[in-house]
Subunit: 64 residues, 6 copies
């Protein structure tokens, strides 16, 4: 019944999200046991303009 | 001061959200006491392409 | 596959939590459709010393 | 390594978000110690149609 | 700067948590790119008495 | 109605938490407007054994 959430910068492709879901689920089950069927993964895409690090917006810190 | 969060697939109508807010608030107050005025409900719509179950993206598992 | 989270003050009984899980699940399914089997509810007990409202710790604002 | 999350109504400007990130980071470090470089701030913009208070959608309660 | 959160039943050992942190970090970087140094993993242990599934407390559904 | 959450290492004193609640609330209102009365702050104390950075448990990386 574990729930895994991932917050990351917007911009990953569908294929990368497919791999994130598959590989985090596998990694969790290997490390902690249980069945992959019970694992949920919820991805949140966060814009750089909504993420701050070190007191600065990431859209300022890491402009494209 | 309770905070209730709901993560669900994108696609519910405004009327369904209105009912979710009203009915979860009522249900909480009935079950746990307190005043409905202090209850917050925050809904997050999650695309099927951002939700994984059993190691698979829900957009692959449950295509429209 | 909806996930409902509840953050509330520490101190509810097991019976109240049982009712919260049952009644929020029922309320969600009535309002939004879907099957109760797919609904998860995760409760977080928050101490008044970890909750602030209006700039004050709730343990100061609402002493026992 | 602290993580600060802010959920607020959609509609704040980039300048307000810049100030939120800067000022919450400063306030945290002043109050709790540590280095600003390790503080993350993640902002979530929530539409009034996804936020309920007192059993009502905020889009009904506070129409524009 | 990705943040991974894991909510799971209370009871995993320190070694299992060490493996969860290491293996989820590796899996994320393989799937999505970036540097492992920027990945945070926050684990929340949830008691079965605070987790509901299908309208029932997990402490009732899966007694020890 | 903004909600601010703070996840930080376990170990801050009640006075530090009082200052976090007061100062983050003030900083938010200065930066984004609104009334301090509507601001909620929820603090989560996370043990170093539940926090990973760079693939390592913080309890291994930063032993007391």
């Amino acid at each position: 019944m574990p729930i895994i959430r991932v917050e990351m910068f917007t911009g990953r492709s569908e294929d990368q999200k497919r791999a994130i879901v598959r590989d985090l689920t596998d990694a969790f089950v290997q490390a902690a046991g249980g069945s992959p069927d019970s694992v949920h993964v919820v991805i949140t895409d966060v814009d750089k303009g909504n993420w701050g690090a070190g007191g600065q917006l990431c859209s300022d810190k890491y402009p494209e």
